[in-house]
Symmetry: C2
């Protein structure tokens, strides 16, 4: 029996996770049975939402199990196939593959990807959950109308970059919020954002007022916390808030406290909708059809931060919480 | 020229309003011109939302003007008509009539009411803004499905009573939250609520857990503040929150601070929607058609608290904030 490396959840984090919650184990690879595939991981996605699954609480995804392999979106290569639809060498995408160097999984849990359409790693990003999250959140919940103002927090993150460019494509005024001067510059110069604001320098609320002279019609929220507190007072009547992420407070041990938003949501007839892309499976094909030509035409550019080596997955994950990535964070093996 | 009494906004309140913000003035009644009506007030509505209009801030209704008459929904009798559609003695409903004993207004700003359908005061309540607010909030935003659990805060208030009974009519499990044992008893015994909880006694969150063994699918929020904090942890996946009122914090001078709700809304894909009935004018006729037969059949009972005398309007308004009313508060002249 072949032995492979896996990354085990050794402990549930309290607050900000660190390396101590991960353990590298040698595990035996089971035999491949009918309908199964043996895969070798090629690209592993690390995503902020995984922090939520590390807690043992009710959420949209079931909690990771202690003493089991962590899991996430990954692109893998078929090594051995006992399913007629797959052959060795095929590249496949799985939304919940274990963090292991190799793995045996039911063929039904993965899909072949077409690398003629885009590079393999894009299926973890702009043509995967990231792009689809931007697409559903902005179009279905944001309901944009040309000429409106869109503010996106976490604008230099994987989802934020797509949201902003989709917003420009749809004729919106797009204002991004991010946490460094390099990111701000990149958003404006490379990604066509109308304005980009650094929440770490100066009064964010005043910056928003200046950047959004007509107020905020859509606030696509990836971060929550103080950034949201600064945006809420600038919401227009009938504004929409696709609630996509809350990275600012995922690591808080105590429930986060802040100004209540309900008075503003009430008096301005604002809609706020939490959503998670896995609840929209019937829309994936449509979303990819919408996004792929925009990506191919260069209207939606996509940035990836690559980290090399299976053993770097934990570090790459932890780096998400200090904003070290630009665009999609991918571990390449 | 005839002189009438009016209630003037003499000062903007800070925090909880008191009598000092009101002033009774004698004002001259203008002549009735073509297309206008002279009216005598019969029933005046006092509503929590008016507190918001006393502040000089952006809200769904424009602020009341200092040194002008306050205004609100009222039923009045036509004294003199210079519009062919109205005759002396007609009873009319105006959503924004001045707080004056008599008034001259454009005929287009009022509508005749049909007292064969219901008593005149009902057009300020269950067949007026109150009932329509319950109808739109519960049906359009709450999107109830039979068998789901509805929690309504401010359950013994005018809107809450209608929401709860509509919920029962639609096959929901209905749990009301109110602030006295008398109200709790009334909700269960007279209005058919499945459970009613007193937020002033004991641990509200534990009471909700017990009363809602399957969690909360719709939270119709009239009050906000601590009551909402107790409800949010019990929300189910895909729960809906029609955000109708925030009476708990209307009078706060400082922005109210509390646990952030976004993490729960995000991880459980919850929708929250602020709304105000004046933005749904095209739905009024439909709503009244829906409600009137239910009221006539006794399926929706409606309670009114009457205060007698024009000069009691300020007191009646202030009493809303100490929960002295049950159902709709009306000043009868």
């Amino acid at each position: 029996m072949k032995t492979v490396k896996q990354i085990t959840l050794a402990a549930r984090p309290k607050g900000m996770p660190d390396m101590s919650i991960f353990r590298f184990d040698d595990v035996a690879l089971p035999e491949v049975k009918t309908g199964e595939l043996q895969l070798k991981g090629r690209y592993y996605s690390v995503d902020p939402y995984m922090r939520g699954r590390m807690n043992d609480v009710k959420s949209y995804s079931p909690p990771f199990k202690l003493e089991h392999a962590l899991e996430g979106g990954a692109v893998a290569e078929v090594v051995e196939s006992k399913d007629p639809a797959f052959a060795p060498g095929d590249l496949v995408l799985g939304p919940y593959l274990p963090w292991a160097t190799e793995m045996v999984v039911p063929a039904a849990t993965v899909k072949k990807i077409d690398t003629n359409l885009a590079p393999a790693s894009y299926f973890l990003g702009v043509l995967g959950m990231t792009g689809l999250t931007a697409y559903i959140g902005l179009l279905d919940i944001g309901k944009p109308k040309a000429g409106e103002t869109l503010v996106v927090s976490g604008a230099a993150g994987a989802v934020g970059l797509v949201v902003g460019q989709l917003g420009k494509h749809l004729g919106l005024r797009v204002v991004g919020i991010a946490g460094s001067e390099d990111k701000i510059k990149m958003l404006k110069e490379e990604y066509g954002f109308d304005e980009a604001l650094n929440y770490k320098t100066g009064d964010l609320s005043a910056q928003i007022a200046k950047a959004c002279p007509d107020g905020v019609d859509i606030y696509f929220d990836n971060v929550g916390g103080d950034v949201t507190d600064a945006v809420v007072p600038h919401l227009n009547f009938f504004a929409r808030i696709p609630l996509c992420g809350q990275i600012a407070i995922y690591n808080n041990e105590e429930p986060s406290v802040g100004p209540r938003i309900q008075p503003t949501l009430l008096t301005r007839s604002v809609l706020m909708q939490g959503f998670i892309i896995r609840n929209y499976p019937t829309r994936y094909a449509e979303g990819i059809q919408y996004l792929a030509p925009l990506v191919k035409a260069g209207k939606i550019k996509f940035t990836e931060t690559f980290v090399e080596g299976f053993e770097k997955i934990p570090e790459a994950f932890l780096a998400l919480f200090t904003g070290q990535n630009t665009g999609k964070m991918i571990v390449k093996v």
